[in-house]
């Protein structure tokens, strides 16, 4: 079998110091993205457990698997949860969710929780899209721009390059930063054309790290233009899988002149966190109504 260079490590976490049995409100947010799925469980609006795994070919299965993995050995079960909100690309296809909310709203709300209420601009770099979101001090969306039409500037584009250069996707960023001098960015926007351009560079004998640096800086520039159009206000946070790629983040930081905040938890769970927080608000509303 050929090596799957796009394959990244799945991950789960539990707050060891918390006991869910003592919680008044138990909610979950499940973010089914095009590439990855996260399930986040919150006890009274605080992070309790989460999982982050690859989305399979079937959204309901992926959502269920992620939630089961987040439960793991906590003894928590689906029936203990008071409210579940689904979000992401596959949100309408989660049978056990009580409600579906857009990922734009969830990412802003989640970033507000994870990075603090000073966050005003969120860049979510996902598997098949890229969103620039402006939000207020409560994590409410005030404006956004999104690219979901073109693979340039998304994780999918990075997968294509990892595969071409036979470098594991999690190492791309670090390798791209080993260049002595920053090479010019890949000139083609389109991933298909950029791939031909990179092949030509490799044939000419340009080393891998330089080709990766060229692509990372092109990608950083691509998301930079999206942010420019929206206008960036501090503080700035990056969520989504690509936010773990230092090669992109450092180059974007340089171009923007703004340092992004660093999260305590996996930046890929922001959407799930937001969804779990919406779930909490919704159940509180329901209880008040009774």
């Amino acid at each position: 079998m050929t090596t799957e260079y796009w394959r990244w490590k799945e991950y789960r976490w539990t707050a060891e110091d918390k006991d869910w049995k003592k919680a008044d409100i138990l909610t979950a947010g499940v973010d089914v993205g095009s590439v990855s799925t996260q399930a986040v469980i919150m006890t009274d609006g605080d992070l309790y457990a989460y999982s982050n795994m690859r989305t399979g070919s079937n959204s309901p299965d992926s959502a269920k698997k992620a939630l089961d993995w987040a439960f793991d050995d906590t003894e928590l079960k689906m029936e203990n949860l008071h409210f579940i909100v689904g979000t992401g690309y596959g949100r309408i296809n989660i049978p056990f969710a009580n409600k579906a909310i857009t990922e734009i709203a969830c990412h802003a709300r989640g970033a507000n929780f994870m990075y603090g209420p000073t966050v005003r601009t969120v860049l979510d770099m996902g598997g098949q899209d890229c969103k620039a979101i402006r939000c207020d001090e409560r994590g409410k969306v005030t404006a956004f721009l999104m690219n979901d039409k073109c693979a340039a500037g998304t994780g999918r584009g990075m997968e294509v390059f990892a595969d071409l250069l036979q470098v594991h996707i999690e190492e791309v960023g670090d390798i791209s930063l080993t260049v002595e001098k920053e090479p010019p960015p890949v000139s083609s926007t389109c991933v298909i054309f950029a791939k031909s351009e990179a092949s030509a560079l490799l044939r000419k004998g340009v080393p891998k790290n330089e080709v990766l640096a060229s692509y990372c800086s092109a990608m950083a520039h691509r998301v930079f233009s999206l942010l420019e159009r929206l206008g960036v206000e501090k503080e700035f946070a990056i969520t989504g899988g690509i936010s773990k790629n230092k090669g992109i983040v450092q180059r974007l930081e340089k171009e923007l002149g703004i340092k992004p905040l660093t999260p305590k938890h996996d930046p890929q769970i922001a959407g799930g966190v937001g969804a779990a927080l919406f779930a909490k608000s919704l159940i509180e509303k329901q209880r008040k109504g009774k």
Binding site: C150, S188, T189, V191, I192
Partner: protein, 270 residues
């Protein structure tokens, strides 16, 4: 056979595209030889080799050449050109020579799509180009053929056998590749997927052409014009007849050659 000055005029058009080099050699206003070769890594060498071969085929010698015009994305690579013209100029001239009533020329190559409005003399009136995105170029059908595991030549024939329009949601070639794989898994037939692929690229091309209010006759040229499935999809999308000349991939080189012929005649006359 050799040519003496003033009797037969030898001119040539060299079109160095993203993928292939196409050359047309004219003896007066008649095509003496034509051929194509992969541009490859070194477009300069491959185009010079092809040029030499075609001159021999035409029975001419390098010293007999009156004028050479280069065009295409790699036009700077050809050292023997007396002049260069843009791709839209060459497209429009070539289409006019073969089909004088052409008023809209659509040219789809490996990495570029162009729509050109031209007058009765084959002069460019207006144009639109997509060179940024593979979704409106031959690279799209190539990537899709790979995903479907068929030759790009088979793709056209397959698509003509379908009478079921399956929508493709993705525009981007990278996303469309995944969509093709999903369609295969969902049990959609190869024929229907092939049609969906051609409908998708046709819709990209026609929306580019519509930016220039399309006028009849519409002539389709470039390598992708060899794909009958694409032609059908484009006809459906534009809802009008499309004329495809024989050997549509040579039209731009022919246009360049005709311009070379005009320049040489003007030089001689003046």
């Amino acid at each position: 056979m050799s040519y003496s000055a003033g009797e037969n005029m030898i001119t040539a058009g060299v079109d160095i595209g993203a993928k292939f080099v196409k050359i047309v050699v004219l003896n007066d206003s008649k095509v003496a030889s034509k051929g194509m070769a992969l541009g490859g890594f070194d477009q300069k060498t491959s185009s010079l080799e092809l040029f030499k071969k075609l001159l021999t085929e035409a029975g001419a010698d390098e010293k007999d050449i009156s004028f050479v015009v280069a065009t295409g994305a790699g036009k700077e690579e050809f050292p023997k050109a007396h002049d260069k013209v843009t791709e839209v100029t060459a497209d429009s001239k070539g289409a006019n020579v073969l089909h004088p009533s052409a008023r809209t020329v659509i040219s789809v190559g490996a990495e570029e799509g162009r729509a050109i409005r031209c007058d009765e003399q084959g002069k460019v009136v207006d144009f639109a180009i997509n060179e940024k995105c593979a979704a409106g170029a031959g690279a799209f059908t190539e990537a899709m053929a790979r995903a479907l595991e068929v030759n790009v030549e088979e793709l056209g024939a397959l698509s003509l056998q379908s009478n079921n329009a399956v929508p493709m949601n993705a525009q981007c070639a990278v996303f469309a590749e995944s969509e093709v794989v999903s369609l295969v898994h969902a049990g959609t037939t190869k024929e229907d997927i092939a049609r969906a692929i051609h409908d998708a690229i046709a819709s990209r091309i026609s929306s580019m052409a519509r930016r220039l209010s399309i006028e009849k006759d519409v002539v389709l040229i470039g390598g992708v014009a060899n794909n009958k499935g694409f032609i059908e999809s484009l006809k459906r999308d534009l809802q009008m007849d499309i004329f495809v000349p024989e050997d549509p991939e040579y039209v731009s080189a022919l246009g360049a050659a005709c311009i070379a012929h005009e320049r040489a005649s003007a030089k001689e006359g003046g």
